[in-house]
Structure formats: C-alpha cells, structure tokens
Amino acid sequence: MPATPNPATAATGLNFPAGTALTARGLSVHFGRNKVLKEVSIDIAAKAVTAIIGPSGCGKSTFLRALNRMHELNPDARMEGDIRLFGDDIYARGVEPVIVRRRVGMVFQKSNPFPTMSIAENVTVGLRLNGLRDKKLLAERIEQSLQMAALWDEVKDRLNAPAISLSGGQQQRLCIARALAVQPEVLLMDEPASALDPLATQKIEDLIVHLKKDYTIVIVTHNMQQAARSSDYTAFFYLGELIEFGPTAKIFTNPSQKRTEDYVTGRFG
C-alpha cells in the first residue's frame, strides 16, 4: 500500500477492529476544469458507519460517488488516484463499473423506487436484471431484505402493491432494501434522511446503526446531530479537501483542526 500523503489521516493512527473496507489514495475528481476533490486519502472501516460531513459544495457527494464510480455517469467527470475495495483496485483496467456497483450499493437523497413496479419487484429488480430467476430464492431475498430494512412488518401483506403507494419514509427504507437485496459489501448513503420528517429520520438512523453489524456504511450528511448519533468515524471535508478524519467522538468533542471545530460547533457551514 502506498504511503499516505495526507497528514490528517496519518495523524489519527486509526486501527479498525473489523479491518479496512475501502482505501482511497490521492483521490482527485475534476468536472471539466473544476477540481472538486483534491488528493483525498482516507481509509473506511469495515462493518462500521463512517459519516462524511462538511458544508455544501465541499465535495462530499462527489467523494461518495467516486467510491462506486457513479460520478462516471457525468461525461465531464475525470478521476485520478486509487481506490481499493478489500484490496481490489476498483478502477483497474477491465473492471467494469457495473460490477463495482454490485459490491458497493447506494441510497440517494430523494427516495426513488421504480414507479412501474410493486414493492416486491422493487426489492428484487437488481437480482432479476442480473439474471437471477429462482423464484424461491427471490422470495427469500424479499423477506430478508425488507426485514433488514425494518420494513417487512409494514408491507408483508401488500408486497404486490405499487411501490409509490408507500409513505416517503417507507419509500426510502424500500430503497435501502432494494440496495441490500443484491448483497453489497458496502452501502453508500447520500443524505438519506434529508427529505424526511423527524420520525421517519429516526427510523432510518436506527436502521443504520442496526445495519453496521453486517455492512460497511458510508453516509453523507449535513446534519451534525445525525453524524454524531449514528456514526463511528467522521470525516470532515472542506472545499474539496479532507480536513480531518477520526473517531466520531473525537471529531465532535476534541477536533485537532480549527476549521473542524468551527464547523461542528456551528460557527460556519
């Protein structure tokens, strides 16, 4: 593994109990002539929740999207650096983004269940379109994924109802179930609760804490309380740079950088 150029990461000297899921080294992303992410190096702990915080425009969403190559959907995007998923270089020649995305799932800010499909179809769409036909296995996955997403009890009697008949919070949990159904190793969440009411937000947060037993989770949020409540590690981004990274408790109570302190205490952002 190449030497870490970023002092912020090196200084933390983190030792993850369940190992490292993702390592990014010298990660930069340009959109046209704009450099929105500047030489970021960071390790993401396996089976833990890592929160990415920072003011809008700091590159946190871009960072998240680089982790499963979603930024490539934008034709102007260009990326430099190196990202490894459990040791595999996800940008290596011949590695298809489609395969990377099956291993690194994603949940979006706005819930986006497919409107033409039922609840059950939404859960299994990733599997079916990747060639899984076994009805029994699909039925198992539906229950399993909805259980994990804490939605099973609410929808088990109407699995064939249209997905868009669900409430906003339920739709977002359905999207989580849909992402879980393909059994990814890492789950990325881009402000998953920002469009929800407090009660639904609470449920999503509980779910995140629950899911880390099995999954590596990276969550982008602008909500400081949410980061403090549900994450184990926190990374603070500012103007495309990783300013500070460490255990959440340390970032929120005893940050080593002045800018981090200013941000988490609400002095700017």
Binding site: D88, E96, V98, I99, R102, R103, N130, G131, V182, Q183
Partner: protein
C-alpha cells in the same frame, strides 16, 4: 455471490451495452438514410426530364402532356400564389388566436379552445378536401365570388368568370384552414415561453392587458413568431390532398383568382397515375424534386428561427 461467479456476467453486460448502443445508433441514423433515399430517388426519377428540358423546365409555362412538353412554371406559380393567399388569411388569425389563448382569454376557456385546435390539426387533409368540394366550393361560387367581383372587380385578381368555383382562391382558403392549427400552436408555445418577468414589468407600469401583450410579449417574441409563420409556409407549399380536390387542376398562369390552377403537389397527385411514356413521369418526378427543394429550404429556415429563439423546444407537428 462472490467475485468469481460474477465473471461470466461481466463480459455479457459489456457486450450487451455496446451492442445496444450500436443498435439504437443505427436506428437513429436511419433518419439520414431516409433523407438520402428521398434525394436519390427523386434525382434518379427526374433524370430523363432534366436531361431533356434542362433549366428551361423551371421557367417554361408549357405543361402539355399531349405534345409531351413540360414546364414547371404554372405549378410553381400556383404553389406560390395559393400559399400566399393561405398565409394572408392564416397568419393574422393564427397569431391573434395564439395571443388570445396565452394572454387575453379567460382561464376556463383556454383548455377547451386548445383542444379544439389540436383536433382541427388532426383532421385528415382528404376529409377537409371532401368538405371543400361539397360545402365550401358551392358556397364560394355563390354568394362569395360574385360578391367579391361586385366590390373588388376592378382588380385583375377578381375578374373573370366566377361560376367554376374550384379555383386558386378556393385552394388558398383550404390551405389556410390546414395551416392555421400549426401556426397557432407553435405561436402559442412561443408566446408562452416569454418570461413572466417581462409581463410583470409592464403591468407594474400600469399597462392594460393589451398594452402588456404589445409591449412585453409581441415585441419579445417577434423572431419566434416569424419562425412559426415560416413553418406554416413550409406546410402550405407541400399541402396536397385538400388543394388537389378544390383548386381545379388546370396548369395555366392567369391573374384571376376565380380561375382553376394547379400546385406542384396537386399536379403530381392528379396526374401521376395517368402518366405514360418515359418523359411524362420523369417530369412529375422533377416537380417533386422542385417541391422537395423548396419545402426543405423553407423548413430549414423555420427550424433555425425557432431553435435560435430563446427557450422553447418547439416540436414540429402536423
């Protein structure tokens, strides 16, 4: 699922992706194939006539199947004049209606009117032609033409016998009816795309509704409206069935609008099936080529005007 059993899928999805992209690209490129085909077939069909008559074809006013001599001038003349009549009638009515629909009409009336106009656009040309033959032409023959002659008869345009009915003027009117819906709906899109701020600024000056329309809307939308009119002209030049049925089908150049005439499209429609020998069909192909050239040029102009007009994506409709 472990990475190993994902291997076979990888190749499949990559091939699937590029195959699908190439398939859709090929289908999109069919557009160019069609354009090439149209140009090629018309040029090929017109060879004999082009060879025989050369450029004289465009300026000769003889269209004489009996002696196998052909000139396009009467048809070009008829096309231009009938389209001009159509524009003179259709443009003020269409633009005024578009203004009414976007600026002046009460809200509850707008949707039903718009729906009516869209339905009018959907009426097949042949049905309008049928109505033209049996309702409009008899009505023009009596009382409209005699009335026009009585009061405007001093002009050469309104001289000559009025009893035929099927005439240049009838053709122009029916084309006007055909192109009113398209000019109206494209104009409406243009007017709708005028920013609301423009209107508010004018209202804030204490302008009346009409003044707002004139100052803020019409002056802003001039170029786009011109594009709508040119688009209508393109349709008018190529309009076939309804014109063929009421224009009288006579290849002559006379001043009287009460006299039968012909257009490029109507000559082809009414004579193609009877055309025999090597030259006659070829001359009709060449008329088609002239018609294509003119309409394509006019349509390019219209599209450029509409596309450079800020904002609206105006879809062509018929």
């Amino acid at each position: 699922m472990n990475p190993a059993n994902r291997q076979p899928d990888r190749a499949k999805s990559q091939h699937g992706d590029s195959a699908f992209k190439w398939l859709t690209l090929a289908m999109a490129l069919v557009i160019f194939v069609l354009i090439g085909l149209i140009g090629f077939e018309l040029l090929r069909g017109a060879q004999v006539s082009m060879h025989k008559f050369g450029w004289r074809f465009l300026v000769s006013s003889d269209w004489d199947p009996v002696n196998d001599v052909y000139g396009a001038l009467p048809a070009i003349f008829g096309t231009v004049v009938s389209s001009l009549i159509a524009l003179i009638i259709a443009v003020p009515i269409s633009v005024a209606t578009a203004v009414y629909l976007t600026e002046l009409a009460p809200q509850w009336l707008r949707q039903p009117l718009i729906m009516f106009i869209e339905l009018l656009a959907a009426v097949p040309s042949v049905i309008l032609g049928l109505w033209g033959i049996f309702v409009m032409v008899p009505f023009l023959r009596d009382p409209v033409f005699p009335f026009l002659q009585k009061y405007l008869g001093f002009l050469p345009l309104f001289k000559g016998p009025t009893y035929i009915g099927s005439s240049m003027l009838a053709g122009g009117i029916i084309v006007a009816i055909m192109i009113i819906p398209i000019i109206t709906s494209v104009s409406r899109e243009i007017l709708r795309s005028v920013p609301g701020l423009q209107r508010e600024a004018a209202y804030a000056l204490g302008a009346t509704r009409w003044e707002v329309t004139r100052i803020a809307v019409l002056s802003y939308a001039k170029k786009g409206l011109f594009g709508a009119v040119i688009l209508g002209l393109g349709r008018a030049l190529g309009e076939t069935m309804a014109v063929t049925m009421v224009i009288g089908n006579s290849s002559q150049i006379v001043a009287s609008l009460f006299a039968p005439a012909n257009t490029l499209a109507s000559v082809i429609a009414s004579e193609f099936n009877e055309a025999t020998g090597p030259i006659y069909p070829s001359a009709l192909f060449e008329l088609g080529l002239v018609l294509l050239g003119v309409t394509v040029l006019v349509n390019i102009l219209a599209q450029l005007l509409l596309k450079t007009f800020a904002g609206p994506s105006v879809k062509p409709q018929h």
